[in-house]
Protein backbone atom coordinates (compact mmCIF):
# COMPACT_ATOMS: atom_id res chain seq x y z
CA UNK A 1 0.00 0.00 0.00
CA UNK A 2 1.20 3.44 -0.80
CA UNK A 3 2.61 5.63 1.90
CA UNK A 4 0.74 8.84 2.69
CA UNK A 5 0.62 11.56 5.33
CA UNK A 6 -2.46 12.73 7.17
CA UNK A 7 -3.74 15.45 9.46
CA UNK A 8 -5.95 14.27 12.28
CA UNK A 9 -8.18 15.56 15.04
CA UNK A 10 -8.00 13.57 18.25
CA UNK A 11 -10.53 13.62 21.05
CA UNK A 12 -8.79 12.07 24.02
CA UNK A 13 -10.03 11.39 27.55
CA UNK A 14 -8.03 13.39 30.11
CA UNK A 15 -8.35 12.72 33.81
CA UNK A 16 -5.94 13.95 36.48
CA UNK A 17 -6.32 10.95 38.78
CA UNK A 18 -8.79 8.39 40.05
CA UNK A 19 -10.63 10.91 42.18
CA UNK A 20 -11.08 13.71 39.66
CA UNK A 21 -13.72 14.05 37.04
CA UNK A 22 -12.31 13.67 33.57
CA UNK A 23 -13.35 15.00 30.19
CA UNK A 24 -12.44 15.01 26.52
CA UNK A 25 -9.69 17.27 25.14
CA UNK A 26 -9.34 17.95 21.43
CA UNK A 27 -5.91 17.92 19.77
CA UNK A 28 -4.67 18.40 16.21
CA UNK A 29 -1.78 16.36 14.88
CA UNK A 30 -0.35 16.99 11.45
CA UNK A 31 1.84 15.07 9.02
CA UNK A 32 1.25 11.66 10.51
CA UNK A 33 2.74 8.93 8.36
CA UNK A 34 0.56 6.00 7.35
CA UNK A 35 3.47 3.75 8.33
CA UNK A 36 3.42 4.83 11.97
CA UNK A 37 1.84 2.72 14.64
CA UNK A 38 -1.01 4.19 16.64
CA UNK A 39 1.22 4.57 19.68
CA UNK A 40 3.92 6.31 17.61
CA UNK A 41 1.26 8.79 16.58
CA UNK A 42 0.61 9.35 20.30
CA UNK A 43 4.37 9.81 20.83
CA UNK A 44 4.37 12.54 18.18
CA UNK A 45 1.39 14.19 19.85
CA UNK A 46 3.03 14.02 23.28
CA UNK A 47 6.30 15.52 21.93
CA UNK A 48 4.22 18.31 20.50
CA UNK A 49 2.45 18.86 23.82
CA UNK A 50 5.75 18.93 25.72
CA UNK A 51 7.10 21.53 23.26
CA UNK A 52 4.01 23.61 23.84
CA UNK A 53 4.60 23.35 27.58
CA UNK A 54 1.46 21.27 28.10
CA UNK A 55 1.08 18.02 29.97
CA UNK A 56 1.47 14.93 27.78
CA UNK A 57 -1.26 12.29 27.66
CA UNK A 58 -0.66 9.33 29.96
CA UNK A 59 -1.14 5.96 28.28
CA UNK A 60 -0.02 2.40 29.01
CA UNK A 61 2.37 0.47 26.78
CA UNK A 62 5.33 -1.81 27.12
CA UNK A 63 6.31 -4.33 24.45
CA UNK A 64 4.77 -2.56 21.46
CA UNK A 65 4.69 -5.89 19.67
CA UNK A 66 1.36 -7.32 20.70
CA UNK A 67 2.45 -9.59 23.53
CA UNK A 68 2.29 -7.75 26.84
CA UNK A 69 -1.31 -6.57 26.79
CA UNK A 70 -0.63 -3.13 28.25
CA UNK A 71 -1.79 -0.85 25.44
CA UNK A 72 -5.40 -0.40 26.50
CA UNK A 73 -7.07 2.18 24.26
CA UNK A 74 -10.71 2.26 23.25
CA UNK A 75 -10.49 3.78 19.78
CA UNK A 76 -13.59 5.03 17.96
CA UNK A 77 -15.81 2.79 20.04
CA UNK A 78 -13.74 -0.38 19.70
CA UNK A 79 -11.07 -1.74 22.05
CA UNK A 80 -7.69 -1.71 20.26
CA UNK A 81 -9.20 0.09 17.27
CA UNK A 82 -10.72 -1.01 13.98
CA UNK A 83 -8.51 -3.96 12.99
CA UNK A 84 -9.44 -7.55 13.74
CA UNK A 85 -7.07 -9.52 16.00
CA UNK A 86 -4.76 -6.57 16.61
CA UNK A 87 -3.53 -4.73 19.71
CA UNK A 88 -3.36 -0.93 19.78
CA UNK A 89 0.44 -1.04 19.46
CA UNK A 90 0.14 -3.13 16.30
CA UNK A 91 -2.55 -0.93 14.81
CA UNK A 92 -1.07 1.22 12.06
CA UNK A 93 -2.10 4.65 10.92
CA UNK A 94 -2.98 3.35 7.45
CA UNK A 95 -6.21 2.29 9.16
CA UNK A 96 -7.14 6.01 9.06
CA UNK A 97 -7.31 8.69 6.43
CA UNK A 98 -6.56 12.38 6.17
CA UNK A 99 -9.03 14.55 8.06
CA UNK A 100 -10.30 11.78 10.35
CA UNK A 101 -11.45 12.51 13.89
CA UNK A 102 -10.43 9.76 16.30
CA UNK A 103 -12.00 9.38 19.74
CA UNK A 104 -9.80 7.65 22.32
CA UNK A 105 -11.18 6.54 25.68
CA UNK A 106 -9.85 4.38 28.51
CA UNK A 107 -11.33 0.92 29.26
CA UNK A 108 -14.56 1.52 31.14
CA UNK A 109 -15.45 -0.82 34.00
CA UNK A 110 -15.73 -0.35 37.74
CA UNK A 111 -13.21 -3.17 38.11
CA UNK A 112 -10.73 -1.20 35.95
CA UNK A 113 -10.63 2.22 37.64
CA UNK A 114 -8.88 5.02 35.74
CA UNK A 115 -5.48 5.88 37.21
CA UNK A 116 -4.78 8.79 34.87
CA UNK A 117 -5.96 9.73 31.37
CA UNK A 118 -5.98 6.48 29.37
CA UNK A 119 -4.31 4.34 32.04
CA UNK A 120 -6.54 1.99 34.00
CA UNK A 121 -5.72 -0.23 36.95
CA UNK A 122 -5.97 -3.85 35.81
CA UNK A 123 -4.58 -5.49 38.94
CA UNK A 124 -7.99 -7.13 39.39
CA UNK A 125 -6.84 -9.51 36.62
CA UNK A 126 -3.68 -10.32 38.59
CA UNK A 127 -5.74 -11.19 41.64
CA UNK A 128 -7.95 -13.50 39.56
CA UNK A 129 -4.83 -15.34 38.36
CA UNK A 130 -3.47 -15.49 41.91
CA UNK A 131 -6.71 -17.12 43.04
CA UNK A 132 -6.07 -20.23 40.94
CA UNK A 133 -4.72 -19.60 37.45
CA UNK A 134 -1.67 -21.80 37.90
CA UNK A 135 -0.50 -25.37 38.34
CA UNK A 136 1.44 -26.36 41.44
CA UNK A 137 4.72 -28.02 40.50
CA UNK A 138 6.79 -29.99 42.96
CA UNK A 139 10.52 -29.69 42.78
CA UNK A 140 12.62 -32.76 42.15
CA UNK A 141 14.05 -34.39 39.09
CA UNK A 142 12.95 -32.91 35.84
CA UNK A 143 10.20 -34.95 34.24
CA UNK A 144 10.78 -35.88 30.64
CA UNK A 145 8.75 -33.55 28.45
CA UNK A 146 7.42 -36.44 26.41
CA UNK A 147 6.23 -38.55 29.32
CA UNK A 148 2.73 -37.10 28.91
CA UNK A 149 1.17 -37.88 25.59
CA UNK A 150 -1.11 -35.05 24.49
CA UNK A 151 -3.11 -35.12 21.26
CA UNK A 152 -2.24 -32.42 18.76
CA UNK A 153 -5.81 -31.12 18.63
CA UNK A 154 -5.90 -30.74 22.43
CA UNK A 155 -2.46 -29.16 22.51
CA UNK A 156 -3.57 -26.69 19.84
CA UNK A 157 -6.70 -25.74 21.77
CA UNK A 158 -4.75 -25.28 24.98
CA UNK A 159 -2.18 -23.19 23.14
CA UNK A 160 -4.84 -21.01 21.53
CA UNK A 161 -6.32 -20.31 24.97
CA UNK A 162 -2.86 -19.66 26.40
CA UNK A 163 -2.26 -16.82 23.94
CA UNK A 164 -4.50 -14.51 26.02
CA UNK A 165 -2.35 -11.53 26.96
CA UNK A 166 -4.61 -10.25 29.72
CA UNK A 167 -5.23 -6.95 27.98
CA UNK A 168 -8.80 -6.50 29.23
CA UNK A 169 -10.35 -5.64 25.85
CA UNK A 170 -12.97 -8.33 26.45
CA UNK A 171 -14.13 -6.53 29.59
CA UNK A 172 -14.03 -3.16 27.84
CA UNK A 173 -16.22 -4.43 25.01
CA UNK A 174 -18.72 -6.35 27.13
CA UNK A 175 -21.97 -4.59 27.96
CA UNK A 176 -21.88 -6.38 31.32
CA UNK A 177 -18.19 -5.63 31.99
CA UNK A 178 -17.72 -9.36 32.39
CA UNK A 179 -14.21 -10.82 32.58
CA UNK A 180 -15.31 -14.30 31.63
CA UNK A 181 -13.44 -14.54 28.31
CA UNK A 182 -10.18 -13.70 30.07
CA UNK A 183 -10.94 -16.00 32.99
CA UNK A 184 -12.02 -18.91 30.80
CA UNK A 185 -8.91 -18.58 28.63
CA UNK A 186 -6.85 -18.79 31.80
CA UNK A 187 -8.70 -21.85 33.09
CA UNK A 188 -9.01 -23.57 29.70
CA UNK A 189 -5.35 -23.66 28.78
CA UNK A 190 -4.76 -25.62 32.00
CA UNK A 191 -8.01 -27.59 32.10
CA UNK A 192 -7.30 -29.07 28.67
CA UNK A 193 -3.95 -30.52 29.72
CA UNK A 194 -3.14 -33.39 32.09
CA UNK A 195 -1.01 -31.14 34.30
CA UNK A 196 -4.04 -28.97 34.99
CA UNK A 197 -6.32 -31.75 36.24
CA UNK A 198 -5.47 -31.99 39.97
CA UNK A 199 -6.51 -28.38 40.60
CA UNK A 200 -9.14 -28.13 37.88
CA UNK A 201 -12.20 -27.92 40.15
CA UNK A 202 -10.73 -25.61 42.70
CA UNK A 203 -9.31 -23.40 39.98
CA UNK A 204 -12.71 -22.80 38.39
CA UNK A 205 -14.41 -22.09 41.72
CA UNK A 206 -11.68 -19.90 43.19
CA UNK A 207 -11.16 -17.79 40.07
CA UNK A 208 -14.88 -17.16 39.56
CA UNK A 209 -15.22 -16.21 43.25
CA UNK A 210 -12.37 -13.73 42.90
CA UNK A 211 -13.81 -12.32 39.66
CA UNK A 212 -17.15 -11.70 41.37
CA UNK A 213 -15.39 -10.03 44.29
CA UNK A 214 -13.57 -7.67 41.92
CA UNK A 215 -16.86 -6.28 40.64
CA UNK A 216 -17.01 -7.64 37.11
CA UNK A 217 -20.46 -8.33 35.65
CA UNK A 218 -22.12 -11.60 34.74
CA UNK A 219 -21.67 -13.01 31.23
CA UNK A 220 -24.74 -13.21 28.96
CA UNK A 221 -23.03 -14.73 25.89
CA UNK A 222 -23.34 -11.67 23.63
CA UNK A 223 -20.02 -12.46 21.97
CA UNK A 224 -18.65 -8.89 21.93
CA UNK A 225 -15.52 -10.13 23.77
CA UNK A 226 -14.65 -12.64 21.09
CA UNK A 227 -15.21 -10.05 18.36
CA UNK A 228 -12.64 -7.62 19.77
CA UNK A 229 -10.07 -9.92 21.37
CA UNK A 230 -6.67 -9.15 19.82
CA UNK A 231 -5.71 -12.80 20.28
CA UNK A 232 -9.03 -14.08 18.93
CA UNK A 233 -9.71 -16.16 22.02
CA UNK A 234 -12.83 -18.18 21.33
CA UNK A 235 -16.04 -17.82 23.30
CA UNK A 236 -16.23 -21.64 23.49
CA UNK A 237 -13.69 -21.30 26.31
CA UNK A 238 -16.48 -19.65 28.30
CA UNK A 239 -18.71 -22.65 27.73
CA UNK A 240 -15.90 -24.92 28.96
CA UNK A 241 -15.55 -22.80 32.09
CA UNK A 242 -19.32 -22.85 32.67
CA UNK A 243 -19.23 -26.64 32.54
CA UNK A 244 -16.20 -26.84 34.84
CA UNK A 245 -17.80 -24.44 37.30
CA UNK A 246 -21.11 -26.30 37.33
CA UNK A 247 -19.41 -29.67 37.76
CA UNK A 248 -17.06 -28.43 40.47
CA UNK A 249 -19.70 -26.41 42.28
CA UNK A 250 -22.21 -29.27 42.37
CA UNK A 251 -19.57 -31.78 43.45
CA UNK A 252 -17.99 -29.63 46.17
CA UNK A 253 -19.16 -30.27 49.71
CA UNK A 254 -20.55 -27.44 51.86
CA UNK A 255 -17.26 -26.59 53.51
CA UNK A 256 -15.09 -26.80 50.41
Amino acid sequence: MEHYNMNLTLKVWKQKDGNSKGGFETYKVNNISSEMSFLEMFDVLNEQLIHEGKEPIAFDHDCREGICGMCSMYINGRPHGPWQGTTTCQLHMRAFKDGDTIVVEPWRANAFPVVKDLIVDRTSFDRIIQAGGYVSVNTGVTIDANSHMIGKDIADKAFAAATCIGCGACVAACKNSSALLFLSAKTSHLALLPQGQPERNNRALAMVAQMDKEGFGSCTNTGACEAVCPKEIEITNIARLNRDFAGAGLAADIKE
Partner: protein
Protein backbone atom coordinates in the same frame (compact mmCIF):
# COMPACT_ATOMS: atom_id res chain seq x y z
CA UNK B 1 -19.53 -24.46 48.37
CA UNK B 2 -23.15 -24.40 49.55
CA UNK B 3 -26.21 -23.88 47.34
CA UNK B 4 -26.49 -20.18 47.93
CA UNK B 5 -22.82 -19.58 47.08
CA UNK B 6 -23.34 -21.65 43.95
CA UNK B 7 -26.45 -19.89 42.72
CA UNK B 8 -25.41 -16.35 43.66
CA UNK B 9 -22.10 -16.58 41.80
CA UNK B 10 -21.98 -14.95 38.38
CA UNK B 11 -21.83 -18.30 36.59
CA UNK B 12 -24.51 -19.76 38.90
CA UNK B 13 -26.93 -16.98 37.94
CA UNK B 14 -26.33 -17.76 34.32
CA UNK B 15 -27.10 -21.43 34.94
CA UNK B 16 -30.35 -20.44 36.64
CA UNK B 17 -31.33 -18.39 33.60
CA UNK B 18 -30.41 -21.20 31.22
CA UNK B 19 -32.20 -24.01 33.06
CA UNK B 20 -35.38 -22.05 33.74
CA UNK B 21 -35.20 -20.77 30.16
CA UNK B 22 -35.08 -24.30 28.76
CA UNK B 23 -38.09 -25.26 30.89
CA UNK B 24 -39.99 -22.28 29.50
CA UNK B 25 -38.96 -23.26 25.98
CA UNK B 26 -40.52 -26.69 26.58
CA UNK B 27 -43.66 -25.00 27.86
CA UNK B 28 -43.92 -22.99 24.64
CA UNK B 29 -44.16 -26.24 22.68
CA UNK B 30 -47.11 -27.34 24.82
CA UNK B 31 -48.76 -23.93 24.55
CA UNK B 32 -48.46 -23.58 20.81
CA UNK B 33 -49.61 -27.17 20.39
CA UNK B 34 -52.76 -26.50 22.39
CA UNK B 35 -53.44 -23.33 20.45
CA UNK B 36 -53.17 -25.27 17.21
CA UNK B 37 -56.40 -27.09 18.20
CA UNK B 38 -58.34 -24.02 17.04
CA UNK B 39 -57.44 -24.91 13.46
CA UNK B 40 -59.45 -28.11 13.75
CA UNK B 41 -62.10 -25.57 12.74
CA UNK B 42 -64.83 -27.39 14.66
CA UNK B 43 -66.24 -24.35 16.43
CA UNK B 44 -63.75 -24.83 19.25
CA UNK B 45 -64.77 -28.31 20.40
CA UNK B 46 -61.25 -29.72 20.30
CA UNK B 47 -59.73 -26.56 21.74
CA UNK B 48 -62.16 -26.33 24.65
CA UNK B 49 -61.62 -30.00 25.47
CA UNK B 50 -57.85 -29.51 25.46
CA UNK B 51 -58.13 -26.40 27.64
CA UNK B 52 -60.41 -28.32 29.98
CA UNK B 53 -57.87 -31.14 30.26
CA UNK B 54 -55.12 -28.64 31.19
CA UNK B 55 -57.29 -27.25 33.97
CA UNK B 56 -58.87 -30.46 35.26
CA UNK B 57 -56.20 -33.16 35.12
CA UNK B 58 -53.75 -33.17 38.01
CA UNK B 59 -50.63 -33.73 35.88
CA UNK B 60 -50.82 -30.41 34.01
CA UNK B 61 -51.99 -28.73 37.23
CA UNK B 62 -48.84 -29.81 39.06
CA UNK B 63 -46.70 -28.83 36.07
CA UNK B 64 -48.49 -25.50 36.09
CA UNK B 65 -47.21 -24.79 39.60
CA UNK B 66 -43.70 -25.59 38.37
CA UNK B 67 -44.32 -23.36 35.38
CA UNK B 68 -45.22 -20.37 37.55
CA UNK B 69 -42.23 -21.04 39.76
CA UNK B 70 -39.87 -21.13 36.78
CA UNK B 71 -41.47 -18.01 35.32
CA UNK B 72 -40.91 -16.18 38.59
CA UNK B 73 -37.32 -17.42 38.91
CA UNK B 74 -36.54 -16.47 35.30
CA UNK B 75 -38.14 -13.03 35.66
CA UNK B 76 -36.67 -12.12 39.04
CA UNK B 77 -33.18 -13.45 38.32
CA UNK B 78 -33.29 -11.81 34.88
CA UNK B 79 -34.20 -8.41 36.26
CA UNK B 80 -31.63 -8.67 39.05
CA UNK B 81 -28.94 -9.65 36.54
CA UNK B 82 -29.82 -6.78 34.25
CA UNK B 83 -29.68 -4.24 37.07
CA UNK B 84 -26.44 -5.64 38.51
CA UNK B 85 -24.73 -5.83 35.13
CA UNK B 86 -25.71 -2.29 34.27
CA UNK B 87 -24.16 -1.07 37.52
CA UNK B 88 -20.74 -2.51 36.65
CA UNK B 89 -19.81 0.40 34.38
CA UNK B 90 -20.50 3.64 36.21
CA UNK B 91 -19.03 5.85 33.47
CA UNK B 92 -20.09 4.86 29.97
CA UNK B 93 -18.41 5.33 26.60
CA UNK B 94 -18.79 8.32 24.31
CA UNK B 95 -18.72 6.00 21.28
CA UNK B 96 -20.33 2.60 21.64
CA UNK B 97 -19.24 -0.67 20.09
CA UNK B 98 -22.85 -1.48 19.24
CA UNK B 99 -23.51 -3.99 16.47
CA UNK B 100 -19.84 -4.26 15.56
CA UNK B 101 -19.32 -6.69 18.40
CA UNK B 102 -22.62 -8.44 19.00
CA UNK B 103 -26.18 -8.75 17.78
CA UNK B 104 -28.62 -6.12 19.02
CA UNK B 105 -31.00 -8.74 20.40
CA UNK B 106 -28.26 -10.45 22.42
CA UNK B 107 -27.67 -7.12 24.18
CA UNK B 108 -31.39 -6.45 24.64
CA UNK B 109 -32.49 -9.51 26.59
CA UNK B 110 -33.51 -7.38 29.57
CA UNK B 111 -35.70 -5.06 27.53
CA UNK B 112 -37.14 -7.84 25.37
CA UNK B 113 -37.83 -9.85 28.52
CA UNK B 114 -39.58 -6.88 30.14
CA UNK B 115 -41.78 -6.43 27.05
CA UNK B 116 -42.67 -10.11 27.21
CA UNK B 117 -43.47 -9.69 30.91
CA UNK B 118 -45.90 -6.84 30.19
CA UNK B 119 -47.51 -8.95 27.50
CA UNK B 120 -47.64 -11.93 29.84
CA UNK B 121 -49.55 -9.97 32.48
CA UNK B 122 -52.11 -8.82 29.91
CA UNK B 123 -52.35 -12.34 28.56
CA UNK B 124 -52.92 -13.91 31.98
CA UNK B 125 -55.63 -11.38 32.83
CA UNK B 126 -57.27 -11.94 29.43
CA UNK B 127 -57.33 -15.72 29.33
CA UNK B 128 -55.71 -17.66 32.12
CA UNK B 129 -57.56 -16.09 35.05
CA UNK B 130 -61.05 -16.41 33.51
CA UNK B 131 -60.30 -19.97 32.43
CA UNK B 132 -59.16 -21.04 35.93
CA UNK B 133 -61.30 -18.86 38.16
CA UNK B 134 -64.49 -18.44 36.19
CA UNK B 135 -65.92 -15.64 34.14
CA UNK B 136 -66.37 -17.67 30.98
CA UNK B 137 -69.58 -18.80 29.36
CA UNK B 138 -70.40 -22.49 29.27
CA UNK B 139 -70.73 -24.68 26.24
CA UNK B 140 -72.09 -28.22 26.04
CA UNK B 141 -69.89 -30.80 24.31
CA UNK B 142 -71.11 -34.42 24.24
CA UNK B 143 -73.69 -33.56 26.87
CA UNK B 144 -71.11 -32.22 29.34
CA UNK B 145 -70.54 -28.55 30.25
CA UNK B 146 -67.18 -26.96 29.33
CA UNK B 147 -65.73 -23.45 29.82
CA UNK B 148 -65.99 -21.76 26.46
CA UNK B 149 -62.46 -20.33 26.24
CA UNK B 150 -62.75 -20.53 22.49
CA UNK B 151 -65.67 -18.09 22.47
CA UNK B 152 -63.64 -15.73 24.66
CA UNK B 153 -60.75 -15.80 22.20
CA UNK B 154 -63.06 -15.33 19.26
CA UNK B 155 -64.64 -12.36 21.01
CA UNK B 156 -61.32 -10.75 21.95
CA UNK B 157 -59.82 -11.10 18.49
CA UNK B 158 -62.73 -10.66 16.11
CA UNK B 159 -65.64 -8.89 17.84
CA UNK B 160 -64.26 -6.81 20.72
CA UNK B 161 -64.36 -3.09 19.94
CA UNK B 162 -60.63 -2.61 20.69
CA UNK B 163 -59.62 -5.86 18.98
CA UNK B 164 -57.07 -4.11 16.77
CA UNK B 165 -55.24 -2.76 19.79
CA UNK B 166 -55.31 -6.19 21.42
CA UNK B 167 -53.88 -7.78 18.28
CA UNK B 168 -51.14 -5.17 17.94
CA UNK B 169 -50.14 -5.83 21.58
CA UNK B 170 -50.12 -9.54 20.82
CA UNK B 171 -47.93 -9.12 17.77
CA UNK B 172 -45.49 -6.89 19.67
CA UNK B 173 -45.40 -9.37 22.55
CA UNK B 174 -44.74 -12.31 20.25
CA UNK B 175 -42.12 -10.36 18.27
CA UNK B 176 -40.29 -9.65 21.55
CA UNK B 177 -40.53 -13.33 22.37
CA UNK B 178 -39.06 -14.18 18.97
CA UNK B 179 -35.88 -12.12 19.40
CA UNK B 180 -35.58 -13.15 23.05
CA UNK B 181 -35.67 -16.78 21.93
CA UNK B 182 -33.22 -16.37 19.05
CA UNK B 183 -30.54 -15.42 21.56
CA UNK B 184 -31.82 -17.34 24.57
CA UNK B 185 -32.17 -20.73 22.88
CA UNK B 186 -28.55 -21.10 21.79
CA UNK B 187 -27.17 -19.13 24.71
CA UNK B 188 -28.67 -21.52 27.24
CA UNK B 189 -26.83 -24.45 25.65
CA UNK B 190 -23.56 -22.53 25.70
CA UNK B 191 -24.16 -21.87 29.36
CA UNK B 192 -24.63 -25.58 29.95
CA UNK B 193 -21.23 -26.13 28.41
CA UNK B 194 -21.54 -26.75 24.68
CA UNK B 195 -18.04 -26.18 23.22
CA UNK B 196 -18.23 -28.17 19.99
CA UNK B 197 -18.91 -25.92 16.98
CA UNK B 198 -20.77 -28.69 15.21
CA UNK B 199 -23.41 -28.69 17.94
CA UNK B 200 -23.28 -24.96 18.60
CA UNK B 201 -24.11 -24.29 14.94
CA UNK B 202 -26.88 -26.87 15.16
CA UNK B 203 -28.31 -25.11 18.22
CA UNK B 204 -28.16 -21.71 16.52
CA UNK B 205 -30.04 -23.15 13.52
CA UNK B 206 -32.52 -24.98 15.73
CA UNK B 207 -33.02 -21.80 17.76
CA UNK B 208 -33.97 -19.81 14.67
CA UNK B 209 -36.28 -22.56 13.42
CA UNK B 210 -37.91 -23.02 16.81
CA UNK B 211 -38.42 -19.29 17.34
CA UNK B 212 -39.89 -18.86 13.87
CA UNK B 213 -42.27 -21.80 14.06
CA UNK B 214 -43.48 -21.10 17.59
CA UNK B 215 -43.91 -17.36 17.09
CA UNK B 216 -45.65 -17.75 13.72
CA UNK B 217 -47.95 -20.25 15.43
CA UNK B 218 -48.82 -17.71 18.11
CA UNK B 219 -49.37 -14.83 15.70
CA UNK B 220 -51.51 -16.83 13.27
CA UNK B 221 -54.03 -17.44 16.05
CA UNK B 222 -55.42 -13.91 16.54
CA UNK B 223 -55.06 -13.29 12.79
CA UNK B 224 -57.12 -16.40 12.01
CA UNK B 225 -59.94 -15.02 14.14
CA UNK B 226 -59.60 -11.47 12.86
CA UNK B 227 -59.70 -12.45 9.20
CA UNK B 228 -62.35 -15.10 9.76
CA UNK B 229 -60.19 -18.03 8.56
CA UNK B 230 -61.85 -20.13 11.23
CA UNK B 231 -65.39 -19.98 12.50
Amino acid sequence: MNWSQFFTSSVGKKLTMALSGIFLILFLIVHVGLNACIWANDGGVMFNKAAHFMGANWVPRVLEIGLFAFFLIHIIQGLVLEIQNRSKRKIGYAVNLGNRGSKWYSRSMGILGSLILIFLVIHIIDFWIPSRFGGLTETIIDGKPYHNLYAEMKYKFSEFEYRHIVIVIYILGVASLFWHLVHGFQSSFRTLGLTNHKYINMMIGLGWAFSLIVCLGFIMMPLSFLFGWIS
